[in-house]
């Protein structure tokens, strides 16, 4: 009977359940919650809420669901899915040393010699998600996601109306304004409100509304903030239909919103094939740090438009995209551990991300108004808001708001131009931030 009780007690002591209701040992109450099992419990609840949003409310489920489940897995105590692989050196005992000199090895590990002393080189395997996370850490997955996005994107509306590039550029204003704001907060002297330049740059890129770009830049500038930034970026992309319309209506008049734009000219196959080649050469020569993102985006698009590599194009759009999405989402979510996520800075990141996104929308709409006046009323300023990179949701929002004023107005294809230009613009902006802050 005692043996059974002891066995049950051992199982309980080694289970995650026991750890769930503990507090950390150092720091103030918030820090002790964040580092203890209670923090894990809070994060499990947040992960379940995000799973609910993904499934029931369909908030960007393709990414939010793996992110939320990765967050759940990493916060289950003692699961160690994100445990790092490591080697430790354990000195040989005198007996083991004597055996070694006789050619007998008491352990299976290799022996390492350093300064005349001998050590066992113990190798501990890392967790599953740690190995998959290396694709994020080395900046491999986001460019591959861009490969798939390029293969799925039709740049025809942009080529037909090249002025849309400027709207895509204007919408990146939110990134740089937020960068300034994030650094300005540090002047308050409060350490919880202080970000380094690299952290400010990573937070600011949320304003590009481009998940892969945000993850790519954050892994290079501030990997410790990857969890909250990824969750914020994908949540705001899902909230585009809620965040943008009030800003669009605030900055435009009814007359401006009712503008019906001229039908786009036809775009030839030659133009569509030359587009990715030209963009790659021009942008990468100007900004070499943007080569992985812009290069993969344009490679995917060339696969699509060339018409001679249909199999590869389909793979990039479907199988490759799906596999990388699973790996990227799950491992990014797994970086959101309680000790890093439950910080005052996390809430600030979420607020700053919203500011970045809002300023990006405003920047695009304001430049749209400038184009409205410059062209004598031919450009509907609403398409400027589509300059954020949330393809195609932002373009649909422009269409919807335009149709509220004029039911016969179809702005969708006109808005797709700035929308896809914004993908290029946010990649360029990320390259600038990496060059200046990296």
């Amino acid at each position: 009977m005692d043996a059974i009780v002891k066995a049950i007690a051992d199982i309980w002591n080694e289970s995650g359940y026991k750890r769930l209701f503990t507090l950390g040992t150092e720091g103030n109450l918030l820090e002790r919650i964040a580092t203890g099992g209670v923090g894990n419990l809070i994060m499990i609840a947040i992960a379940c809420f995000l799973i609910y949003l993904a499934i029931k409310k369909e908030f960007e489920p393709l990414l939010l669901l793996p992110i939320a489940f990765g967050m759940l897995l990493t916060n289950l105590p003692l699961g160690d899915v994100m445990r790092q692989q490591f080697n430790t050196l354990v000195p040989l005992t005198e007996e083991e040393l004597a055996h070694m000199q006789q050619g007998i090895f008491d352990q299976v590990y290799p022996i390492f010699e350093m300064n005349g002393k001998y050590y066992w080189q113990h190798f501990e395997t890392g967790g599953l998600l740690w190995y998959l996370y290396q694709g994020v850490k080395f900046g491999i997955y986001p460019p591959l996601i861009f490969l798939g996005i390029g293969a799925m994107t039709d740049f025809g509306p942009l080529i037909a109306n090249p002025k849309s590039f400027l709207l895509g550029a204007a919408a990146q204003l939110g990134i740089f304004v937020t960068y300034f704001g994030a650094l300005a907060l540090g002047l308050t002297g409060n350490p919880d409100l202080t970000f380094t330049e690299q952290q400010a740059g990573s937070i600011a890129i949320i304003g590009g509304a481009d998940g892969p770009t945000a993850i790519w830049l954050t892994t290079k500038l501030a990997p410790e903030l990857l969890g909250p930034i990824a969750v914020a970026a994908y949540s705001y992309m899902a909230l585009v239909p809620i965040i943008q319309p009030p800003i669009m209506k605030l900055l435009t008049t009814k007359k401006e919103r009712s503008v019906v734009m001229q039908q786009l000219r036809p775009v030839s196959k030659t133009e569509k094939i030359l587009f990715p080649i030209f963009v790659t050469i021009i942008v990468v020569l100007l900004l070499p740090s943007a080569a992985p993102l812009v290069g993969m985006l344009m490679l995917g698009n060339l696969f699509r438009e060339s018409g001679v590599v249909d199999r590869i194009s389909k793979t990039a759009q479907n199988e490759l995209m799906n596999i990388i999405t699973i790996f990227l989402g799950t491992t990014v979510g797994a970086t959101a551990k309680a000790s890093t996520f439950l910080q005052p800075g996390t809430l600030l990141i979420i607020v700053l991300g919203l500011i970045a996104f809002s300023f990006g929308t405003a920047g695009g709409v304001i430049f749209g108004k400038i184009m409205y006046y410059a062209t004598g009323g031919k450009v509907n300023p609403l398409i400027g808001s589509a300059g954020v990179s949330a393809v195609p949701m932002a373009a649909r929002v422009s269409q919807k708001v335009g149709q509220e004023e004029n039911p016969g107005n179809f702005l969708l294809m006109h808005a797709m131009g700035p929308n896809v230009a914004g993908v290029i613009g946010s990649a360029v902006a990320a390259g600038v931030l990496l060059t200046l802050l990296g």
Binding site: F176, L183, S268, E271
Partner: protein
Amino acid sequence: MKITGIAAAAAANGANILSDAALVIAIGMIVVFSALIVLTAIFWIFGKAMHKNPTNSADIKEARQFVPQATAPVKQPEGISSEVVAVIAAAVAATAPEGTQYAVRSVRKVRSTRGERPVWAAAGIAENTRPF
């Protein structure tokens, strides 16, 4: 004096941080706009060249919608509906070589002679035995 000195140093540091941040904003927006302005100009020029140059008309034709010419009504016997005629015309269009000019003038039901397989049955057999 020391506190004032520290406060002044903090203010100067803050001013430096903000001025550096403003510089990043300026450089960032200039670079982003420059890159995209260059792309705008290139594709605007390219668009003009594509529409201006007659040798590129073959590419432009590909993007234009086909406007069918008006033709005389198709002669069709009793028992064949307009929908069947439309389906037959679509099947001919799908199998005809690209660029072929044609017009469907009449449709006639082919009667199989005694002993011969119906046409559809023959087509099905041919389809299934093609690999052999």
